[in-house]
């Protein structure tokens, strides 16, 4: 029984996706359907509505391959545009002076200070690619690739 569960867990997919949906879908309960009807675990990283009422969301989705396919089919059916989060933030340690200016700009704590050494470090797994750190770093140590 537990062996099957482990196999199931191994078959899980985790993806961070950027969803764009037009104004007409504002009332469609997208995340509710993804979680209830397609059994996906959703973490909302970012959500905003642009002035022309387009919705933008960055979601982390976790679920079995089968549920993922179902979820993606649903999104396509209702007309939501789905793209992988291709924005990668890189920390160029050789340029970093460890001044810590970036740390309070980072909303997820991906950039953090190791308080003992007062060194800055970067946990890429926590990065959501928001890019707030890029202009704050004076020494060109933060770089974003779209």
């Amino acid at each position: 029984m537990s062996e099957n569960k482990t196999k199931e867990k191994r078959a899980e997919r985790t993806e961070t996706l950027v969803l764009t949906f037009p104004a007409r879908l504002v009332r469609e309960p997208i995340t509710w359907r993804l979680t209830r009807e397609h059994n996906l675990r959703v973490s909302i990283m970012r959500a905003s509505i642009s002035p022309d009422e387009q919705g933008h969301m960055v979601l982390e989705l976790v679920g079995s391959a089968e549920d993922f396919d179902g979820g993606m089919a649903y999104l396509k059916e209702v007309g939501v545009n789905v793209e992988p989060l291709a924005r990668e933030v890189h920390w160029l340690a050789e340029h970093c002076t460890h001044c810590t200016a970036c740390v309070s700009a980072c909303p997820t704590g991906a950039l953090y200070v190791e308080r003992e050494t007062m060194d800055v470090d970067f946990d890429a797994a926590k990065c959501i690619g928001c890019g707030l750190c890029i202009p704050v770093c004076c020494y060109g140590a933060m770089e974003i690739k779209v």
């Binding site: 002076t97 460890h98 001044c99 810590t100 200016a101 970036c102 740390v103 309070s104 700009a105 200070v113 308080r115 050494t117 007062m118 060194d119 800055v120 202009p135 704050v136 004076c138 020494y139 060109g140």
Partner: protein, 402 residues
């Protein structure tokens, strides 16, 4: 029995000097008291690494053939000041290229300027020199365009009129909506973040608050090599308000420093692009403090929890020279990552690298322990509190009619 610098240097030459960093001194004074610490410790090293805008490089390129008297000059497109003899140039840290859009293109990236030219030279990179001249009989050449390298220069001296600020403010933005772009970083509205800029308990002038041991001629660590203090820096203000322990609460004393760029390490002299504001030069400085008596031991042993800074609004108060500090916070609180102001928890960030400051203090300690670095007796003291020297603004008045 107070020690003298000459006695300390004698011990350094014999490899017997007891040298600790300012961080280590905190524990020594706390455990055994200032008197015992003064007997035991000979030198305390300090360090700091942060943006120091009043910085520049004085270089001599040597003459071309035929000779040229530089009237206007540019290094990698950044204007260098040529109003010094024929081939002397001064590169200011904050100078922008002629075609830099600054913040007319919001918010303003300021990617390359004087400070970056200085960093590139120190790093051994080739830099393009362009110069024009009205031409004279003795210096007939009117135009010059060539690559130059620091190894080609006759002299390359880092000449910084104001460095190593003795304390500074903590900057916040009290505006309700506007994000502001300042030399203290990007400040979010409603005091959503607070930025500070000091090494705190490692900071040179915070550890010799009355400038008893530092002055014109003090030998220091500068940019990875040996440098010297050439006097109080611009805006030196010994009259700033001080806490009971004698340490200023706001920006007070400053140091004017110099050193040979050809010996420097670009790790400790870095161009800084401050978004929406401009360009600065981050400089690494370390000052050795001779522990002459109990008072110097006490001063060098003060810790972050007893060093304070004032929180200042940079949206309205600072630009309008309104002196209205909001709160007083300690460097221990600032370095914890958040401070409490009027019931609001505010995340903090530093602009001065404590990690680098530690490295510098340790490096200077190593030089002293190995007998490679001796202390100097200042030739002229820095103006202290008794001098009455203070820092004021411009009193605007109509220009003189001729």
């Amino acid at each position: 029995m107070p020690k003298t610098i000459e006695e300390i240097n004698e011990k350094i030459r014999k490899g017997k000097a007891v040298c600790v960093t300012a961080e280590e001194m905190i524990g020594i004074v706390k455990d055994g008291g200032a008197k015992a610490a003064a007997a035991k410790v000979d030198v305390v090293t300090t360090g700091t690494f942060g943006p120091m805008c009043s910085s520049g490089a004085l270089i001599n390129t040597g003459h071309s053939t035929p000779k040229c008297k530089f009237q206007k000059a540019w290094l990698n497109g950044v204007p260098a000041y040529a109003g010094l003899a024929a081939v002397d140039l001064f590169i200011g840290a904050t100078e922008l290229s002629d075609d830099d859009p600054a913040n007319t293109v919001f918010p303003g990236r300021f990617e390359y300027g004087g400070a970056h030219v200085i960093e590139d030279l120190i790093a051994g990179k080739d830099v393009e020199l362009r110069a024009v001249s009205y031409g004279t009989d003795c210096y007939p050449r009117r135009e010059l365009r060539t690559a130059i390298n620091i190894s080609d220069l006759n002299q390359a001296t880092l000449l910084n009129p104001r460095n190593a600020y003795q304390n500074y403010s903590v900057a916040v933005n009290r505006d309700s909506k506007r994000v502001i772009y300042t030399y203290m970083g990007v400040l979010q509205p409603r005091m959503a973040n607070a930025n500070y800029c000091s090494a705190g308990q490692l900071s040179p002038l915070l550890k010799d608050p009355h400038y008893r041991t530092v002055g014109l001629g003090t030998r220091i660590f500068l940019g990875g090599t040996v440098g010297y203090v050439w006097g109080p820096g611009t805006q030196h203000n010994p009259s700033a308000p001080r806490a009971d322990n004698g340490v200023p609460l706001t920006g007070a004393g400053t140091l004017a420093v110099m050193g040979d760029m050809k010996q420097m390490d670009a790790k400790y002299v870095r161009g800084a692009s401050i978004v929406g504001y401009g360009i600065s030069l981050a400089v690494g400085i370390g000052v050795p403090i001779p522990i002459l008596d109990e008072d110097m031991a006490r001063c060098t042993g003060v810790a972050d929890e007893d060093l304070y800074a004032l929180v200042v609004d940079y949206s309205t108060d600072y630009p309008n020279a309104v002196n209205a500090p909001i709160a007083k916070v300690s460097y221990a609180e600032l370095k914890s990552g958040e401070i409490e102001v009027d019931g609001q928890t505010i995340p903090t960030a530093g602009l001065s690298s404590y990690a680098r400051a530690r490295e510098i203090a340790e490096t200077l300690k190593g030089w002293i322990e190995r007998g490679e670095f001796e202390l100097t007796q200042p030739v002229e003291a820095m103006p202290g509190v008794d001098s009455g020297m203070a820092f004021h603004g411009i009193h605007e008045r109509p220009p003189v009619q001729s």
